[in-house]
Amino acid sequence: MSSPGPALARGDTTPAERGPEAVRVTLSVNGTEHEIHIEPRVSLLDALRERLDLTGAKKGCDQGTCGACTVWVDGRRALACLTLAVTCEGHEITTVEGLSADAEPHPLQRAFMEQDAFQCGYCTPGQIMSAAALLDEGHARDDAEIKEWMSGNICRCAAYPNIRAAIRAVRDQT
């Protein structure tokens, strides 16, 4: 989120104030550019779910507590509920729908099924987006580290042991 955003100049160099009514916002999600009209107060989570029909990211708490809305912004895990969509212009958003490049499940998605790493499944997309980033970060060396670095994703069904098993399984595949 710290890399430069798009040029906003429209003929001059003074950035324009936008809103409060709906404004045109261009979001790059899962490699595809989308143009939507939203008020600046709309969260990335609502933009994804209500405008782009990408309902993988879930609205659990809508206050940055549960992690069910975890997506990647420029490859780093972030909470879509505490991100305003308009601030994402010029950044690449990845949701669980874009995790796997082809029609095949991502290895973590397969491991979640094999290890029975969910019950109700509501937190699962956030768990998987967080876990895939965790593996990329190298924060899955042992169970204590996995626990600590997955603490931002709450599971009310308490599937934690099986979630850790799924993460270990993918970690040990290579």
Binding site: M1, A16, P40, R77, L82, H139, K147, E148
Partner: protein, 338 residues
């Protein structure tokens, strides 16, 4: 959330000009507290000035052994930086003990220092709260106060300062650099956080539109031997009940230099100067550590609900210092002190 307008700033001076000249404009950086409070209508700006594109995200060691951190560097970036981990372990540990990995990727260093209190009466946008609406009273005084402060309180506010980072910075004599309508300033971290007194709505000395641009941490002899010990209700992703930032130099069995600051127990990130003064020159042993902790907490003013924090703080101070002298294995963030 009320409607807002949005301006993405492209240069620092322009951003400061935009917010300074408009009382209804606020900055937006990581948004991890701000968006939540906008949604609760605790904060109600007309316009947000997005500063995330400003070139304020550098992290670099200074030749003298210190550290310069841009205000827009993210918590996760600073915590992972090799110079930070080598020179200032207490800083990396404080950062990684806060929030969650997702939030640490989002939250900026400047925003962390300006995060608002977790007092539920402040955040509900309804209860009387002198911090949110000056003069309306403090609901926590006679309300639910288990997480509230025991040091630095006033009859107008007992909300705990929530930042872990700030506790480490206060211990390390860091400076907060700002740019405002009247130019650049640098505040010692210890003077940046204001006691509530009779004006709990004033949390820092900056004027409207003044922007944190960076944090400077000076070289400190004991900093390489430092730690952050955080005690909380669960092992991770929780605010401190008590936390201790400690750095220690021991020469011939005596304390040569010590830095001590407390989180979770005070209305500001609390530099424990009384304990430091007691310790310099004293034997570096558990008895002296216990006495120092007692001296620091002597003026604590707990409520019936948070009285446990006084003893918990004493024990956490002792455990942090014993860990630094090799007397006890560290287990930051998970265990209860004994």
């Amino acid at each position: 959330m009320r409607t807002i307008t949005y301006l993405r700033a492209t240069d620092t001076a322009g951003a400061v000009e935009a917010v300074s000249s408009d009382p209804t404009s606020d900055y937006l950086a990581g948004g991890t507290t701000e968006v939540d409070l906008l949604r609760q209508e605790v904060l109600n700006p007309r316009r947000l000035v997005d500063i995330n594109d400003l070139p304020l995200n550098g992290i670099e060691g200074t030749p003298e052994g210190g550290l310069r951190i841009g205000a827009l560097a993210r918590m996760s970036e600073v915590a992972a930086h090799p110079v930070v981990r080598e020179r200032f372990p207490v800083l990396a540990q404080a950062l990684e003990s806060g929030a969650s990995p997702q939030l640490r990727n989002m939250a900026s260093m400047g925003g962390n220092l300006l995060q608002r209190v977790r007092c539920s009466y402040f955040r509900d946008a309804e209860s009387p709260c002198n911090k949110r609406e000056p003069g309306t009273g403090c609901s926590a005084l006679a309300g639910f106060s288990r997480g509230h402060a025991v040091l630095g309180t006033s009859e107008h506010c007992i909300a705990t300062h929530p930042s872990d980072l700030a506790v480490a910075l206060v211990a390390l004599d860091a400076h907060v650099r700002t740019l405002g309508p009247r130019g650049e300033r640098a505040y010692p971290a210890d003077e940046f956080f204001l006691l509530p007194g009779d004006s709990p709505h004033r949390e820092h000395p900056m004027e409207h539109g003044e922007l944190i641009t960076g944090i400077e941490v000076p070289a400190t002899d004991p900093a390489r031997r430092s730690l952050y010990l955080k005690v909380r209700d669960r092992a991770s992703y929780e605010f401190a009940l008590v936390s201790v930032a400690a750095a220690l130099s021991v020469v011939d069995g005596s304390v040569a230099d010590v830095r001590l600051a407390l989180g979770g127990v005070a209305t500001t990130p609390w530099r424990a100067r009384r304990a430091e003064d007691f310790l310099v020159g004293a034997a570096a042993d558990a008895d002296a550590f216990g006495m120092a902790a007692r001296v620091e907490m002597a003026d604590a003013q707990p409520t019936p609900m948070n009285a446990f924090k006084v003893e918990l703080a004493r024990r956490t101070i002792v455990r942090a210092l014993r860990t630094l002298t090799g007397g006890r294995e560290a287990d930051p963030g998970t265990g209860s002190p004994t």
